[in-house]
Amino acid sequence: MKVHALTAIPIAMIIALAGCESIPARVLDEGDQTQLQKRSYQSRVFDTADKQMTMRTVIATLQDLDFVIDKADLTLGTVSATKFNGYVLKMTVSVMPHGTKQILVRANAELGIRPVEDPKPYQDFFASLEKAMFLTAQAVE
């Protein structure tokens, strides 16, 4: 088959563009993982109803991990923090009631220009948090 250069280049460019994510997919971070999968490794439940204590412990844990706390809001239950170590790691942790006797802690992180989608760093984070909380981190059912 003989392909003319003038037709081949536009076709190749279309392939090049089609291979990339669309704007909505980028904005909504529609990766390979489902929302449920992400939530399961990014969340843990603790047997306490004390939101303020939980938030203060989350902040202390982030400080132990060398983060500078960017902002926090007790009403909303959110803490955002940034770690500089050659790389830039941004993290947001939210704390919300889970029923009446438990609290759900959810974390998400971004390393440079991409989301952290490996469950391991989240496991590391919750391992530190549960030590600081003196409570066991339970998987969300």
Partner: protein, 177 residues
């Protein structure tokens, strides 16, 4: 021609690669020097109100030229930042001379310094007047090649001096933990 098309396809795939090894896989693992760092960055203040400690801290950061960016008094948090020059004049002149001999060495243009200060009631204290103050400094330095290097500041002297001044501001000696 087929080679050209193949090359485009390869480039298009490279541009969308999603799985690269994570350079910071251990970023959320507690480092071995964590306890030391915590001691360096923390002081305990007894016989003081949390609000007074926060106000004194905010004032001190202002004394040091920081602009307050965020605060949440309910959680004892203050975040502040400032931008300062990078290299001193001597360094710039020195490197300019090297440059004139054809040896380009970058010099630091500016640095953004950030700090978060967190007050936390001592959970083990009997009275409600004992607090831990923990402060962490970090900076991003931009050089004349537009490269930015980012780090957490770990100099013990910086933290010692900071707490000396905070102790003076609240008239109470901060105890090491």
């Amino acid at each position: 021609m087929k080679k050209l098309v193949a090359a485009f396809v390869v480039i298009s795939l490279l541009g969308c690669a999603t799985s690269r090894p994570d350079p910071a896989a251990d970023a959320l693992v507690v480092s071995p020097d964590q306890l030391q760092r915590r001691q360096l960055e923390t002081r305990k203040y007894t016989g003081v109100k949390e609000a007074d400690l926060l106000a004194a801290s905010a004032n001190l950061l202002q004394d040091m030229g920081f602009n307050l960016e965020e605060s949440e008094t309910n959680l004892g948090l203050i975040t502040a930042g400032k931008t300062r020059g990078g290299a001193g004049m001597g360094e710039i002149i020195g490197k300019a001379i090297l440059w004139s001999f054809g040896i380009p060495i970058p010099f630091d243009v500016d640095q953004k310094i950030r700090v978060s200060l967190v007050i936390r009631p001592n959970p083990q204290a009997k009275a409600a007047d004992e607090f831990f103050v923990r402060v962490t400094f970090q900076r991003a330095v931009r050089n004349s090649f537009e490269h930015v290097s980012r780090e957490t500041l770990k100099e013990p002297e910086l933290y010692q001096k900071f707490f000396e001044r905070l102790s003076k501001a609240v008239f109470i000696e901060g105890q090491t933990i």
